[in-house]
Symmetry: C2
Subunit: 391 residues, 2 copies
Amino acid sequence: MSSAQEFQQAPHKLLVIPGPIEVDNRILYANASPSVSHVSPAFISIFGDCLRMLRTILYAEKTGQPFMIAGSGTLGWDQTAANLVEPGEEVVVLNHGYFGDSFAECLEAYGAKVTVLKAPIGGIVDENELVKVLKEKKVKLVTITHVDTSTGVLSPVERYCELIHKTSPDTLIAIDAVCAAGSEEIRFDDWGLDVVVTAPQKGLGVPPGLSLVMASKKALGVLEKRKAPVTAYYASWRRWLPIMQAYEAGQPKYFATPPVQLVNALHVGLKQVLEDKPSLEERFKVHKQVSNYVKDELEKMGCGFVPLDRANSANGMTAARYPKGITAADVLGPLAERDIVVAGGLHKEIASEYFRVGHMGVTAVDQQRGDIEKILKNVKEVLDIARAKQA
Amino acid sequence: MSSAQEFQQAPHKLLVIPGPIEVDNRILYANASPSVSHVSPAFISIFGDCLRMLRTILYAEKTGQPFMIAGSGTLGWDQTAANLVEPGEEVVVLNHGYFGDSFAECLEAYGAKVTVLKAPIGGIVDENELVKVLKEKKVKLVTITHVDTSTGVLSPVERYCELIHKTSPDTLIAIDAVCAAGSEEIRFDDWGLDVVVTAPQKGLGVPPGLSLVMASKKALGVLEKRKAPVTAYYASWRRWLPIMQAYEAGQPKYFATPPVQLVNALHVGLKQVLEDKPSLEERFKVHKQVSNYVKDELEKMGCGFVPLDRANSANGMTAARYPKGITAADVLGPLAERDIVVAGGLHKEIASEYFRVGHMGVTAVDQQRGDIEKILKNVKEVLDIARAKQA
């Protein structure tokens, strides 16, 4: 017989890639909850709670309509493109790496005319360029990858929002916060965001399998007034909005079967984010402190960084350049042999030059686990061994 | 400390709706597996195994290309519509209830010109009507709901396939087998199917959260030659095909993060289907035997059935009409109080006249559980109590 208190996940290598991340025992136990009807009162209440907690975590109490749909984070891009952009409309993509490229491809699939503003590798898009394009064209939507995990660059979302609202008030703003929600502060209402696309498996510390999206009233108004039909079914907010509203009101309604166990797991995970620690603000502070500590220590070991500047570096992960003379083979395999899984490079132009470490969720917040010290100690040891071999 | 052997799910009401269904302890334990990288060799091997086992279960070894994507079963409709139908092309939907209506709506969202052949409630579409429309129009695709859970009708898929191949050899055939895979025999290669859309939470006995699709070589060839762009990203097979091929070949490749834990759970579930019982053929026989037994016993209690005829009745569920004088209130609530959850009616024209019982997966196959006897005993008791009150 197992219970939530007794349950311990199986022994495994420490997973510290930029997501999926380590998952707490209580969350995994909820992911093994017995089958329950997706329209039962108990499940409806849990589903509704998740929607409300997402609103709280994203500071979206005033204008946010959450959507929680079975899928990967990527499905959030489809939701954004399918619902908000009509064929031929102009969209600007602020591109800080791999995930900016992909978001642009998704928008184009739905007929958007996409202008990509591409930052230099590790840098951020120049705000003057953004203002210029907003003045030249009638831009329906700007998309921003909050943290591009391929480069570890943190976008100055608040600043971009100010500029967009000032220069082109009708333009909608969507952020890809898959690797930001739960580890970076996102002020949906205050920043005037229209869409936040995220997923459970990064800063929220829950297994993958849900597309979590927050849409503004303004965005839903734009959807209501659009002329072209929405050429999607599963990604159509018109299909899902009545479901989300019903679940939040405690009423059953069916469109497609939700991933019942995973919603239970998310429920436990979001409660941990909101209730187990002193405050949400504190959570973001802890992520910053841990991030600075990891980066300082890696720097002492001779690593550089892909982001050109600390202010625009993610707080939930680090994209660290190998010290001179060190290669991926010196680090990735040897760490895995020590039961620590970090990720290699993803940005194709520099993939062999850097590695990526996740320090989000329990790994950052639950310091009793000792994950951070374990990572740093072992990175140092494998670097020392590699250097000794060279000498 | 928990282990696969020790793990016991929490006590709960017996869930015998037409899906999600009861999930075996070993499968739930796999759904609580620790985080692992979605591109690690161990996970790639599990993912590849799942694809291979899906092919086996659907008898699709010769022509089937499996897709396994985070989402609900509904996403399979989008995949079918988005990839195979160009705007303005003719599609025929064989409609046996609620899920036929919805598949038609999905096809229309992608621009298909849909002709719905609607069966009388509980009946099946007349094959002459099907042949007639295939002769009148150039039909790109016929869709068939294998089991429509709103009516419990089982479509004669093999027979429809014969007629379609004979009358209009170029026409593609897609079946919605969400409530059929694992509980009804599906002969992908032999019947000449082009798409099977399914999901884990019904006859396969795994938690919901995956869209499982099998596509034929012919279907992929049609996709290759299509002229109009695919107006979808997450539902686009062009994005996913290289991923599925890579995983099956044991190679890492990334498009969107798969639901790692749920894929582990599916792996255990599919192995149970293929290895724990004498044979797959035996599994379908057991489902038939159990179905006949449940239907015979319900008939003895005075119940009728929504399907007009036993031959076209699902083997994994029963849509039973209340005996004369009995209403939903006499059955659904009283059964729930006895910790048995069945479902009410779903077909809007007759919703109050019937209830639905699932007898798929472990409930049918693992007879040591005693689920079937428990259901029948309690249905009989609540009906007797209701009758006693009337007398």
